[in-house]
């Protein structure tokens, strides 16, 4: 099932939370919905799920808006909130939604087992740790065995072991079972190993949409190469003559941009220059992410041709 978001816009009073946001989430993949805190991720997801009424724009599941889905629990599962009635047990919490969705009550025990909460099902939800709450919220999303999963910051409060488990679980749901998974996070590093595609937002606008492979390629091509040579000035001249940009760092070190390590190596070989070190210094994904989302405040007062467009088309 494909999720299509087209032109979503929402203001709260004078604050524009989400601005003309469009993206697509494909089945069989884990899509990361990334952006700094306050970028409008949660507002966007709540609009996609019919909880917040957008000022304009649409979000559909294979063409159908959430509020018009004939059987929402069996179609979309969502983890937006880890809040429960503190006096109600985890199992009873799930049973409430089994009843409301017309599912057999046994589903409550099945999903508790799936998320590893079988032993805690009878306890009051108020006594749960943050990690257990995340698991219970995930269990609720799984009740209807839905083809689409939407998760808002599901890794919050999980211990490293829990995060590891969640990564495997989400990949399994998408890659092995062909489900559509959309997971939001404010940390790229948190989902970097899990997601296949990314949708990056900043200040309520789309900054970048594409595959992780594209993002990695962008990270690689934007890098520099560190070269160390006893004949640094001669190598620098040779590279500059070819049109590369070279900065001499002293002590025989050069920082070269615009050339790959291989190109620099063969140029040095041709010039007969001895090399002691040749090391590509690619800016990491995290750096790219920061570049894309940095200084988003400036977009609050949009100016034509702002760096948004640059980022989106690169």
């Amino acid at each position: 099932m494909r999720v299509e978001v087209r032109g979503l816009t929402k203001s709260f009073g004078a604050v524009r939370a989400v601005s003309d946001l469009s993206f697509t989430v494909e089945p069989g993949q884990v899509t990361g919905f990334l952006g700094p805190n306050g970028a409008g991720k949660t507002t966007s997801l709540r609009m996609v799920l019919g909880l917040i009424r957008p000022d304009s724009g649409t979000a559909t599941f294979d063409g159908v808006p959430y509020t018009a889905l004939p059987d929402p629990s069996r179609t979309v599962g969502a983890v937006l909130e880890t809040a429960f009635h503190p006096a109600r047990s985890g199992r009873n919490h799930l049973r409430v939604y089994c009843r409301a969705a017309g599912l057999p009550l046994e589903r409550a025990d099945e999903v508790l087992r799936q998320v590893g909460l079988s032993d805690a099902g009878g306890r009051r939800a108020g006594s749960y740790s943050l990690g257990m709450r995340q698991r219970l919220a995930l269990a609720a999303a799984l009740l209807g065995d839905p083809g689409v999963l939407v998760l808002d910051e599901p890794a919050n409060g999980l211990d490293p072991e829990g995060i590891q488990w969640l990564r495997g679980f989400l990949r399994h749901l998408a890659h092995d079972q062909g489900r559509t998974v959309l997971v939001s996070s404010h940390l790229l590093s948190e989902v970097e190993q899990t997601v296949d595609r990314v949708v990056i937002v900043g200040a309520g606008r789309l900054v970048r949409e594409g595959s992780m492979a594209d993002l990695r390629a962008g990270a690689a091509s934007g890098g520099t190469v560190l070269v160390r040579s006893p004949e640094a000035p001669r190598l620098a001249d040779a590279l500059r003559a070819d049109g590369a940009q070279v900065a001499a760092d002293g002590d025989g070190a050069l920082t070269v941009s615009g050339r790959t390590a291989a190109e620099i190596g063969s140029r040095a070989f041709a010039a007969g220059v001895e090399l002691h070190e040749l090391r590509p210094h690619t800016s990491g994904l995290e750096e790219i992410y920061f570049q894309l989302t940095a200084g988003q405040e400036q977009f609050a007062a949009p100016t034509p041709g702002a760096p948004v467009a640059q980022g989106a088309t690169r």
Partner: protein, 251 residues
């Protein structure tokens, strides 16, 4: 719709709020009945004597005093969704939110009917024992049955008003405090100030008194009219609550 009503019952009976409110109502009504009967017919109390029709009318209406607790039952039933932020999964499971509010109204009206039945039975049993000991237990004749039934209906309507009020205000503490202030401060003032007493019969409290029983009360409507007024407030609260729950963003 039946699914949603049953989901509301699961919510209601998987916490202990209902038990506290039911026990509170029973204790409150039993205590009222005992005190009233103990001082009935005494000169300085000014209360009618045991065995008179006015005494029986009043004593079998004491169940209606639990109206505040039934109002709170309805308020908690609706506002707990916002207080504990379960409104999100609730409206995700049932995105047609009007149906959720209607299911709550039905679920709480039926649950309140069962609770109110317990309360009026306790009311009657306490009175039969106590008034019987004082010489004249009220019989379960047509008049007295109608009085008990009126109390039951009134309690159910207050629970419905509570659900509607909760949907309007969403804030649990605010709705409960507002309900208490209204019932115990605003209405009594309107009832007792001559300039406003004429409007009292059109208010929920006036409708309640007309429907059940009154003692040294102001000008009131007929019982059936009072019942309609009360029902009107219940439906108004339900309608406004439904409309607002459907329109408002769940953030």
């Amino acid at each position: 719709m039946i699914r949603l009503v049953r989901a509301e019952w699961t919510k209601l009976f998987t916490t202990k709020v209902w038990l506290g409110l039911l026990l509170g109502s029973v204790v409150m009504v039993a205590a009222f009945a005992v005190f009233f009967t103990a001082f009935a017919g005494e000169d300085e109390s000014g209360l009618p004597a045991v065995g008179t029709p006015l005494y029986e009318d009043l004593i079998l209406s004491t169940a209606a005093n639990a109206n505040i607790l039934f109002l709170i039952l309805g308020i908690i039933g609706m506002t707990q969704e916002y207080r504990h932020r379960t409104a999100t999964p609730t409206f995700l499971t049932s995105p047609r939110r009007g149906q959720v509010v209607i299911a709550k109204l039905i679920a709480y009206a039926l649950a309140a009917a069962a609770f109110a039945l317990v309360v009026v039975i306790v009311n009657y049993v306490v009175v039969v024992i106590h008034a019987g000991a004082r010489g004249a237990a009220p019989s379960l004749d047509g008049d007295n049955l109608a009085t008990l039934a009126a109390s039951l209906v009134a309690l159910v309507i207050y629970a419905v008003i509570g659900v509607g009020l909760g949907a309007l205000l969403r804030n649990q503490v605010g709705a409960i405090v507002g309900g208490l202030v209204y019932l115990f401060v605003i209405e009594p003032i309107i009832r007792s100030v001559p300039a406003t007493a004429g409007a009292y019969k059109w208010m929920p409290g006036g409708g309640l008194e007309a429907l059940t029983a009154t003692f040294e009360g102001p000008d009131l409507l007929e019982a059936w009219q009072g019942g309609l007024v009360l029902l009107g407030y219940g439906l108004l609260a339900a309608l406004l609550g439904t409309l607002l729950a459907v329109r408002r963003d769940v953030v």
